[in-house]
Every structure is written in structure tokens, then in C-alpha cells.
Amino acid sequence: MNQLKQFFEPFAILKSRSILLLIVVQVIIALVVWQLTCGALIPTPTKVFQKMMSILGSSEFYDDFIASVSLIAQGMFISIAIALVLAYLSLIPFFRPLVEFVVKCRYLTLTGLIFLFTLLSSDGHALKIYLLIFGIVPFFLTSLLSVIDGISRQEIELCKTLRMNNWQTLLEVVIRGRLDQAFDVMRQNFAIAWMMITAVEAQSMSEGGLGTQLIKYNKYIDLSGVFAVLIIIFIVGVLCDFLLGKMRIWLFPYAKLQSIR
């Protein structure tokens, strides 16, 4: 009874077993609701599950999977590099207008720019990478800037009293001191990139990818196929998120000391 009450208590700290229990129960409820409520149009969980198994069994899937993952890895890597450099440059007055502009690019919609990028890029792969970068960098940069804004004056003053010059201060506080948070920003924005992947892959189907599978199933109105691919994309995304989270704690052991959750 006490435990049940805990589940609804703000800030309550649960044992990892209870958390697992919570997740399992909620997933089961969701599946049951889905099974019971879907009409003729929406496929049942069992049908989707069967489809998923057959997709996972095909060799085609693995090629697509690898295509998607390597595309996203490449896009993320370049985007991170660009966003980090821009974030650090934001502290140098000369570059501030540029950084502000990139941040505001969140309000530009991709659709109108696809044509431009198509003209600029040499092939389908380059086009996809451009689109990913253009989509991710503004969001990534926005989060990074808010990390930098969170740095207290006193930490900068500490550097001064320790006789560090401005560049050393930048390196110590902004770069080294916030690497764990930059990593977390990357993890959070990985979701945005992952979400974009299907839309981006639709622009150039020749290389395959999970996005092209999705489009294919959509075209043949094979809804259980669509759902199956969606769920696979979802699970892979969540798994990557989990791995990145673990990696953060392994890379930056001090990071977990600071979170309240």
C-alpha cells in the first residue's frame, strides 16, 4: 500500500525494480487497450508483431538499418562539430550575430529549402547530410547556448582568482567543464535527428534506409508494415538514447551527482 502511494508522490525515489514494474504494467495496459479498441482499419498488435518478425528476418532490413544508422551517425557527427564550434564562438563578440542567426534558423522550414539543397549537393547522399545538418544544428546550438548561459559568474571569477587568462577560462569552464552537458544535449537532440531521418531519406531513395521502407509500405497501404517499421524505429531510437545515457555516466562520472531525477 505504502509503495502504491509512493508511485504518486512527487520526488519519491523508487527502487529500480519498482520502476521496471511500472514500465511493464503500463506497456501491457497500452497493448491491451490497442488490441481492444482498434477497428478494421488499424492493425492489431499481434498482426503488427508478426509483420515485425518477418521484417526483422529479411536481409533487406539489415541493409536499410545500416544505411539509416550510418547516415544519422555521419549527420550527427558533423552537426555536433559545427554546433560546438558555433557555441564556443558565441563567447567571442565578433561571432555573436552569426550564432544568433543560426539559432533563429529553427523557424525556417526545411521544405522550401529542399530544392536549394538539391541544386547545391552533388548526389543524394550529400543532400541527405545537408538536410540533417540544417535541421539539427539550430536546435543543438540553442541547447548548447542555454548550457553556457547557465554558467555562474562566480565560476568565471574563480578562474580569474586562480590567475587563468580568458582563453584558459574558456577551456576550463565552458569546454571541459561542460562537456558532460554538451554530451547530454547531443543525446537529447539525437531524438530530433532520428525523427528527421525518415523525412530526409524520402528525398533520395536510392541508398535505402528505414525511411524508404516506411514509404514503400505507405505506398501499398500496408498499415501493419508501416506500424512495424515505426515500432522498430522507435525501439532503436530509445535504445540509442539509453546507450548514450549510459555512456555519459561512464565518460563523465560526476554527471550523475548533479541530477535530481
Binding site: 571569477e157 580569474k160 582568482t161 586562480l162 567543464g177 560526476y254 548533479q258
Partner: protein
Amino acid sequence: MSNFTRQEVLLQAENISLRFDKLILRDINFQIHNIVREGHNQGQVVSLIGRSGIGKTQLFKILSGLLQPTTGKILLGEDLHPVKSGEVGIVHQNYILFNHRTIEANLKIGLDHCGKEMTDKEKESVIKEYAGHFDLLDHLKKYPMQLSGGQRQRVSIIQQVLTGNKFILLDEPFSGLDALMIDRVKDLLLKISTLHEHNTLIIVSHDIETTLSISDTAWIMAAQEGKEGATITEEVDLMKLGFAWNPNVKKEAAFRDLIESVKSKL
């Protein structure tokens, strides 16, 4: 009681004033002298006492060279050169440390900028020595977030000492501590002040009793009637009064009277 004298000026505040939208500080003048005490390696412990909001923190920043006063200057050392940031250490009230560095690495960064060439081995042994002295040996591999407030405070202070800062400003070092901890911090500060003849601790606090009990000189900051901005209204020479370096001073009636009279002037 052994002999003591005040000798050369170590720090001089000259005509300091500070204006934001209104005048915060004005006409602040004082000198910190090197105290020479026979048979002791005696550093200086001085305090700035005033109500909160009076401008102590701003004066602090001016003293450390982080904030440029509207008029006047802070002069340091034998040649009385203007203060540059990095010559005066600050230990903030909330003991800021680099959270991404272990305690050992936090202390090492002090040595990295101390201006002396040292090998990593030498640094390590200096850090070990200080950590042993100040009860931190078990914590060197931990991160700041894993330490208690008192332990962090010690790390902060030692970090500044290792940087080679002879002047260390302490912002409210006794706030939020229980009576037992206050005594330990007092001992720590006295220990630091006697590490080197020129070590000078400048304490800003509203805990008048504790602060005065370890100071050799105190300045009272207050506003004067009819005038904008706070200034130093009085200097208390605890050394002359015989209250300095007396561990039992809190029990003396004359000291209690002094505290009462200081309180009435704030």
C-alpha cells in the same frame, strides 16, 4: 604576551567609491600592515563588518580586482602596485569549485598557476601534504558534489593558498555552520594565517563575535546620516586592545562589551 609591531603596508585602499545607479560605497580608505610578532610566523586576519546589503560584496570584488571602482584604487605589495585580478583569492560563500574535477585535480589547478615550475610529482606531494594537514586525504579522488559544505570550504581555501595568493577574501565563512564547525573553521583560518608571514585573510561576515575573535583588525562599514553610500566608520584595533590571538577571548567581559558597542554602530 609577546611583542608585536605593525610594519610595512601590504594592502592599501585609497579613496574607493562605487556608484551603480546610486552611490554604494564612498571614501573608503584603509591599510593592512604586515604584523610582526616575536617568535611567530604571524599572518594577518582582518575583517569587514557591516549589515547585509551595505556593499561588502562589492568592496570585495573591488579588493580582488574583479570590479573597477568608480574612483580610487587598491594598491598591493611592497611597491604598492594596483591590484590585478589573480593576486587576491576569493572564497565564496557557496564554495565554488570545478565540479568536473576531482578534489585532487581542483587543488592541482591552483598549483598549475602558482607561477613556480613544478613537476607533476612535486605537485602531487604538495597536495598530499596539504590534504593531510586539513583532513582531506580520504577525499582526494572524490568530486566536489560528494563532499560536505565544510569539506568544500576547506578545498576552496587550500586551492587559493596553493595558487600562491597571499591575500584571501572569505565571504561569510561562518554562515550556515553549527557551533562545532565554526570552531573548526576558526582553527583552519588561524592555521592558514600562520602558514606564511605575509598571508592575509580578509573576512566579510555578519557573525560579529566569531569574526572579531580571530581578527587583529576590524573595520566597520555603515552608512552615515544624511549621506548617500556606505563607508568605513570605525577601525577596531584588536591587537592593541589585547584581544588578538587569544583563544579564550570570547569569555572576557571586555570583549563582550566591545561586541555590544560594535553592534550598536551598524
